[in-house]
Assembly symmetry: none
Homo-oligomer: 217 residues x 4
């Protein structure tokens, strides 16, 4: 009976779960409320009752997915005295873990990808989140590596270069795994990728720092 009541009452929750999965699979327009309701095991009209609209359901689903992502992302602050290089490695590992790790983070990435292809008003949610949760910590690390005189522009360029490498692994998986079947793509390969990206990025940032130094003098 406890099971029954819990099963009965969280219709809203179940719709959100189903919506996140469905929107991740097919994007906004290609997802159907019917499929979402079927997946959630509720009546078709429930979507309109609880969320007014397919649009509003989408927004609610995005916010929910982001919220879940944030709670999981504890972002354990590194101990004092850790070098910027080590923090960069940690940051990259975190990114890869959240992008490639099993479970719903992948849903969020797919939703982002759909938004990138077909931006709706919801994309602003991601921009805000990206700025606060990803860009801010990255900026601290990269600024330290580039030196205090590095312009915001230069820092942004390097952050993009770092994130791009993480992002590609998640986004182009379909092609990469076809081109290089030998490079495994499961969770166990994350450290290997993190190492390469860190090494490559440290070299890249160092090169940029040198270039800036020459430019100034």
């Amino acid at each position: 009976m406890a099971d029954d009541s819990s099963q009965t009452h969280d219709t809203r929750e179940r719709i959100l779960d189903a919506a996140i999965e469905e929107f991740a699979l097919n994007g906004f327009k290609n997802s159907t409320t019917r499929a979402i309701c079927r997946r959630a095991g509720v009546n078709n009209a429930a979507v309109n009752y609880h969320f007014r609209d397919k649009q509003h359901l989408y927004h609610s689903a995005l916010e929910e997915a982001l919220a879940r992502h944030m709670t999981r992302w504890v972002g354990e602050p590194l101990h004092e005295g850790v070098t910027a290089e080590e923090r960069l490695f940690h940051f990259i590992s975190d990114q890869l873990t959240h992008m490639l790790g099993a479970g719903s983070p992948d849903d969020l990435m797919r939703i982002v990808s759909h938004e990138l292809l077909d931006p709706t008003s919801a994309i602003d949610l991601f921009v805000a989140e990206a700025v606060n949760v990803v860009h801010a910590p990255a900026r601290a690390i990269v600024q330290e590596l580039l030196g205090p005189e590095a312009s915001p522009q230069a820092v942004s360029d390097c952050i993009r270069s770092v994130l791009a490498q993480c992002f590609l692994l998640s986004h182009a998986r379909a092609i990469i795994s076809r081109m290089e079947p030998e490079s495994a793509f499961d969770e166990r390969s994350i450290p290997r990728h993190a190492e390469h990206i860190t090494r490559f990025s440290l070299g890249g940032i160092a090169a940029c720092r040198e270039s800036l130094a020459h430019q100034d003098s």
Copy 2:
């Protein structure tokens, strides 16, 4: 008769043109044969008559788009005696031009992105093209920069790091332009981005080369 055949060819061709643009904009499922036919100025039934199916039209459109892209990508081989650094810069500039440049190349990128999200059998076409047209020249350059002893694995990792930076600019445009409105994103900004990516990548590759050296010894 010449008139008739040219007219016939025109219809098919016009549908293909329209389909490429439409599929690039909206992906496969979100594109409607109606919109394609309206854009092409032909009857709704023409798609089914000439291509049997929406699916078959999609595949034909992809092949056509790829073919056009290949013919345009003459890939003028660089003169002998050019340093690997210069060739890398050229390669990156080419990539950015084809990804960000106005016109149909962007169409192809969008189609690729859609395929990455929702792979169909058509994705193999892109894999083959990526290997032949993009990866092969990149491999030559990076191998030279990494040194002859660098393993294929190491080379692939670096190629990915380079391409990732190009790809992000094209794919995450929607977010980047919202996060950094100051960084222009038109064709004129390509040289600036190419310079940064080249510098960053050269530094990264150098770091990887050093690491390999240490590892070996």
Copy 3:
């Protein structure tokens, strides 16, 4: 307890108020219980709770509207010694006031109009009311004007002719105001219309009286 009962009564009453307005505006089928409940500020299920049904609510609303109309229509009996002509003018003015005057009388007219188009069993309520409240006084006046020998048939014909002129102003307002934008249609124009209708009707009744006289002789 007094508080509770007044609260209860309030809910039912508020639903009735809202229902009358809504049914007047949109008729039975085009009115939604949702809109009624929203307007009344009560829960959606309240309609079914208090009135079992949309149908039953409709009948209750009609009865309520009629009852309110009756209490308002005190029909102040004219002083003795007033001529039939003056009483006719008064009668016509009354009709126009109740048909065109602002406020709920108009609601009742609209409900009647809807019933005329789509008669339900509720129409009998209106027939009874029309006979008692409208037709009876009119009959007295017209009979006096037509003369005592006038047949009920002749009297009914003339009553219809008089009422028709009043009714048209209320019912065809949408067309008339478009055809003759200059003739104002607010409450202030009632006397002007009443004068014309009275004059026209007196002439018409006189003509009928003459005709009856010729027929008899």
Copy 4:
């Protein structure tokens, strides 16, 4: 086979027929395209294919109903030398015939009534038709009866009084037949009603003429 082809090809026509009947019965909002298509024996999507929209179907149906009405309304011009009184009787008989006569004219009247209760943009069609086909001939007759000095306002008032009596018979049929069951309402009663309305109206117009004369002097 001739039957089959004629049956097959006039889908548009059959939809229009069904739409006129359905809209006459239920008005615009309460009519469903499904019911119309069922009645017409065609697919649900046929409405959208042939008329784009429920709205556009409505307009097309109105225009068709009006056109049919016009062709039937041959309006045989009266011979010269006919008195205005006789022409008025003819006019009123025509109106009653078209309002009460069997067949589709009733459909048109019901659509008009629905429009009067819930005006849409389509009401302008009726206004135009009313002006041209009904008001213009009536104005000629009434002006002659009222005398050349009668103001347009006075003429309009009398026209309304005449038309109101015709209109009531068609519109309030549901109540009248309940109040006076003895007065038959079929086509055979038209002459009797026409006679009364003519007599009443001639008397009314005469009274107005006298009043105008007094006013002037």
